[in-house]
Structure formats: structure tokens, C-alpha cells
Amino acid sequence: MIGIDKAKRLLLAAGLLLLYPACSYYTRNSYELNQHLANGNVKQAYEMVSTKEDKWDKGKDKVLYYLNRGALAWMVGNNTESYKYLLKADYYWEDLNTNYGREALSYLINPRVKEYGGEDFEAVMISYYQILNFVQMNDLERARVQARRLSLQLQRIDDKYKDWVLGDKSFKLQHNAFAHTLLGIVYELTLDYNASFISYRNAIGYYESEYSQFFGLNAPLQLKKDLIRAAYLSGFSNEVEFYTKKYSLTFDPKTDAKAGNLIFFWNNGLGPVKSQVTADFTIVKGVGGWYTFTNPQYGYSIPVYYGSNDPNQSSGFSDVELIRAAFPAYVERKPFYQSATLTANGQSFAFETLEDINATAFKTLNDRMLHEFGKTLLRLTLKKVAEHQAKKENKDAGAAIGLINYLTEQADTRGWNSLPHTINYTRVTLPTGPQEVKLTLQGLNNRVDTATFKFDIKPGRTYVQPYQTIQSINSYF
């Protein structure tokens, strides 16, 4: 029979645990926000995050609010506001300390009790939007500052990767080719052609190695042309000759000098969202405090250490037990628009994909899946041990702990849900004077949409025009 005090304590604890998510305004409202996004209602989504700021800007998920507000403000054309919120998100992650209390609790309850630390590609995307913000505000000095920040970010990711990556590195995504392309573009805009050349060359290297291997995404032809032009402008005549031969291209420096350039970014669709999947594991008790979690469906056999060599310190596990674990898994949101062309000066230009955020997200999670499994199974082991220990003292208490464990078991499905599915670009040379450029979007069911843009082209100047379409086929949220 359970004691009254203990029963009260357990009931209170269970109640508090169930109430815990109620403190996050973001958690309660993210469903509606994602619904607006999935329906293509950018304005409504923006209005939603623009009201009740005091409630959004609170708690462990507030960085998701900064990210979404930053992206949505950019989509509605408010660059100053977008910059402000994305900077908050950027600094939030830069300053994020390990909260040891929450870290420990994440092993006892679930990973959602921690502050959202973000995915590496999400950190890179902050810089993408910030660079667009600064370029659109005609503040190239700060675009360059952001490029330097992105460069540091890439180094940090590389260092982090060295520390935790498991297994054969040649099968892991280590470098962000898109980020290096972006750096090259900013350095080119700020007339630092040498730095631009280095960034373009790095980018091509990563497209040719990792991106083509993992995503079937080859280095864009435009990037190869940009590399040759940056080499020319840096005075590297040997490199111009080498790369024109290597890529079978021709390069005429005179054509570029007379006209202006337009770099057109097309952000298409919405990136994937994380959902929760469950998997049943059989726990087989080994020796020396080790347990092996096996799942024949996924072909996993993962050893987890818990306990000591002391035979008197029993964890209370039976020799074989069954346990259900929750993991995050991405779900793709397929874009409505399938292709696009840009018509300028009587010519049509196709877009090339620079970044497949959908594929990057899947690959990133897949690469660290073993890491995720390890953390989840350790959490489940701790929960199970607590349950067994409680059962030893009191059967009802054990059952109550089991119930709490069951109710609190959740995967971390948080993510920046307003990111695009893919980022495409094209670059066109335009004659000086007033120019009209037409974007033609090819959607499903033969639907065609168009948008026009006007520029007053000055010789030798490079213009950047971004455009976002968020319509998706499937609306998972």
C-alpha cells in the first residue's frame, strides 16, 4: 500500500510534469503557425508572430520565435525587423550555455525540456537571410560583417563535427557548399575578388565531393563561371586558363565590364518538419553494467552502459525487456512549383539549385542518428531503472513512475519551420539602363505564375533580387 505522503508527492509530480509544456507559448501556438505556413498564408503567419510578443519571447523555445519572426518579416519585405530578430537568434545560440540542470532533466524526462540549440544548417540559414537583408538595405559593409560571421560559424561546425562524429567520415556531410558560395557572392559584391575566388573554389570542391555524392547536386555551371571571373579580377591568369580548360568554358572579360549583373535567388517551398517515430527495442542484459538494445526492423544493435561491476548493485532490470523509444524524423513538404525561368533582355535563363535544405536536413539527422539513439536509449534506461527501483519499494509507486515515464516520453521535434525547401539561383548580365525581368513559375497541374521586377542597371554593378514561394503540395504540420 502506498503511503499518503508519497502518493501526494507522486500525484503532484505527475501533474506538474503534464503541466510543464503549458509554460511554452511557442509549443501551444506552433501548430497554428505551421498551418498558416503550409497554406501559403505568409501574411497571416507574420501577423500571428507580430502580436503578443511578450508571450512568444519567453522560455526555452523563444529562439524559434526569433527565427520564424525573422524569416517571416523578410518574406513580407521588412528587412530591418528581420535583421533585428535574426540577430537575436544568432546571439542566442552564440551565448547558449549548457544548462546542466536541464541537460540532466532531458535524460530523465525528454529532450524538449532543454533550450532549442538548433541544427547546423539552421545556423547557416540565419546568415543567408541576414546577408539578403543587408544587401536589400544596400548596406554592403554589414553584409561583409555577416559573411565573416558565417565563416566563423563554418569553422565552429567543423570543430564540433570533429568531436562527435562517429564511424567513417567519408559518409557524413561535413561541409556546406551553399554557405561557401554565399561567402563568394558577398566578397564579390564588396569587391574583394581574391576572397571571392577562394570561397567559390571551396564551394565547387564541396559540391563535387559531398553534395554530388549525397544529394546528386553538382556544382552549378554559374558557379564555375563565377570562379573564372573572380580569378580574372584577382589577376590569376594561370587559374583562368586552368579552369576554362577544366570546365570547357570560354571567358570574355570585356562583356562583363560594359553591363550590370543580376543575381536572382529563388527560395522554393518549405523545408521539412520533424515528426516523432517510435521504435520497439529489446533490451538484453549483458555483463559489467552493459545493456544491448536491439531493433530488428531498423537493424540496430546498440550497447548502452549503465551500472557498475559490483554484483550487489542491481539495476532491477530483468534479463530481457521490451521498451518503446521515441525519435525525431523529418517529413518532407514537397514544393508546389516544380521549375522556374527568368526572362531578361529577350533571353531565358534556367535556375540552378544551390542548396537542397530538405535533403540536407534528412542527411544531417541521419548522420547523427546513432548519436540520437544513444541519447534516447540512455534516457529510457534511466527511466526504466527508476521505475524498477520504485517497484521494489512499492508496487503502486513503481506503476505511477511507469505512467509518468510513458507520458513524458517524447522526441525533440522542434525546428525552424519557415525555411525554404530549396534555394535556386541564376545570374544574368543586363545592359545598362531600365530593364524588366520576368520570373515564370511552373506549378503542378500546368499552373503558370509570373512576377516582374524592374531595375535601373548601372555599368559594372551587381544587383541581388530574392524571391520566395512557399506553396507546398502536402501540408504536414
Binding site: 507522486l10 510543464y20 535583421y83 546571439y91 550555455n97 532533466l105 530523465l108 560583417v145 555577416q146 527508476a386
Partner: protein, 196 residues
């Protein structure tokens, strides 16, 4: 481990209460050094402006100018570029700190920078129509600067895991506006160790 089933809810209780804490605000002395994030802040701006202007005014160019012209030099503070990794650094704040230091020493005259001049001219233009004749300010009486101060804030970041060393290097130059001769170059470094 026996008490794990009590400890877990107890930690949860602590977190539940801490997650719903209200914000605390208190006023502090603006001169108090506050380093929260480790990034460039108002203390850095004031410190650098103070030290660099003291250095600039202790150099021979000032004495030489005074002796040659028999008056205080007129200085304009021009562009200070941000070449760090922090897009929110406001060079304008740093420019104001430099102007303040110059003015407070009373050894140089500071004139309005390019951005503020348009507002002044608009006001003067307005006076020509709406102000009394005796209070109306005349055109063509603006004081031309003898020297322009320009500079750049650089930063170098060396980071690994949760440790970071940020070195800010501020370079300032004072240039003779007529001859383009650099009469003074100064630099100052601020090094910060930040651990998350």
C-alpha cells in the same frame, strides 16, 4: 538511484517554477563596466575613444599646427568602418565618443559630420523665411575642417568549443584635408576571453 523517482519530479518542479519567472529590472550607473555577452559594448567604445584621443592630442601635429596657424585645429570625424563579426556594432556611437573626447579637451574644434550637415542646412534655410532678420544665420559661414579622422574596428576571433578569444583592434588616422598627409596614426587593442 533509489531516490531517482523522487529526484526527477523535484527537478521538474524547480524548472517549472523557474520557467515562469518574471523579469527583473534595476537601474545601474551608466559608467559601471558591464560585460554580459563579451561582445563590443559601450564600455569598449568609451575606453577606446578616451585612450586614443589622449594619445592623438599628445603628438607633435597639434603643437606644430598651433604654432603655424595660431589657432586650434578644426577636426571632423569621418567614417569609422566596422570590420568585425558583429553586425550590430554602431560606429556612430564610437564617433560620438571620439567627438566628445575632442571637445572636452578644448584643444581642437569639432565640426558636424556629413550626415548631420543636411539637417543644419535645412534649418538655416528655414530661418531665411521664418526667423527675424537679427536672429537669422547667414550662409557661407560654416567652418571648414583642417583634419579628418577616419578609422576601422577590426576583430579577430579564435574559438574552439565553448572557449573564445576575441581581439578588437581599432585603427584611427588623422589626415590633413588639404594635403592628404597623415599626421597621426593610432591603434588600440582590446582582448577578451569568453567562456560559455
Amino acid at each position: 538511484m533509489k531516490k531517482a523517482y523522487i529526484i526527477a519530479p523535484a527537478i521538474a518542479l524547480m524548472l517549472v517554477t523557474s520557467a515562469c519567472q518574471t523579469r527583473k529590472v534595476e537601474r545601474i550607473d551608466p559608467n559601471q563596466v558591464t560585460d554580459l555577452s563579451g561582445r563590443w559594448n559601450d564600455t569598449d567604445s568609451k575606453l577606446v575613444a578616451d585612450e586614443m584621443i589622449t594619445d592623438a592630442l599628445g603628438r607633435p601635429w597639434l603643437k606644430e599646427f598651433n604654432e603655424k596657424m595660431g589657432r586650434k585645429p578644426v577636426v571632423i570625424v569621418g567614417r569609422i568602418r566596422n570590420n568585425t563579426t558583429e553586425p550590430d556594432i554602431q560606429p556612430e556611437t564610437f564617433i560620438k565618443d571620439i567627438e566628445k573626447e575632442f571637445i572636452n579637451t578644448a584643444t581642437v574644434t569639432v565640426v558636424q559630420s556629413k550626415e548631420g550637415r543636411d539637417d543644419l542646412r535645412a534649418e538655416r534655410e528655414d530661418q531665411q523665411t521664418f526667423s527675424t532678420e537679427e536672429s537669422r544665420k547667414k550662409w557661407g559661414k560654416e567652418k571648414g575642417a583642417d583634419f579628418m579622422m577616419m578609422g576601422v574596428i577590426n576583430s579577430n576571433v579564435d574559438a574552439y568549443k565553448n572557449e573564445k578569444v576575441v581581439t578588437y583592434k581599432i585603427n584611427l588616422e588623422l589626415i590633413d584635408l588639404e594635403s592628404n598627409i597623415k599626421v597621426w596614426i593610432g591603434d588600440k587593442e582590446i582582448k577578451k576571453y569568453i567562456k560559455n
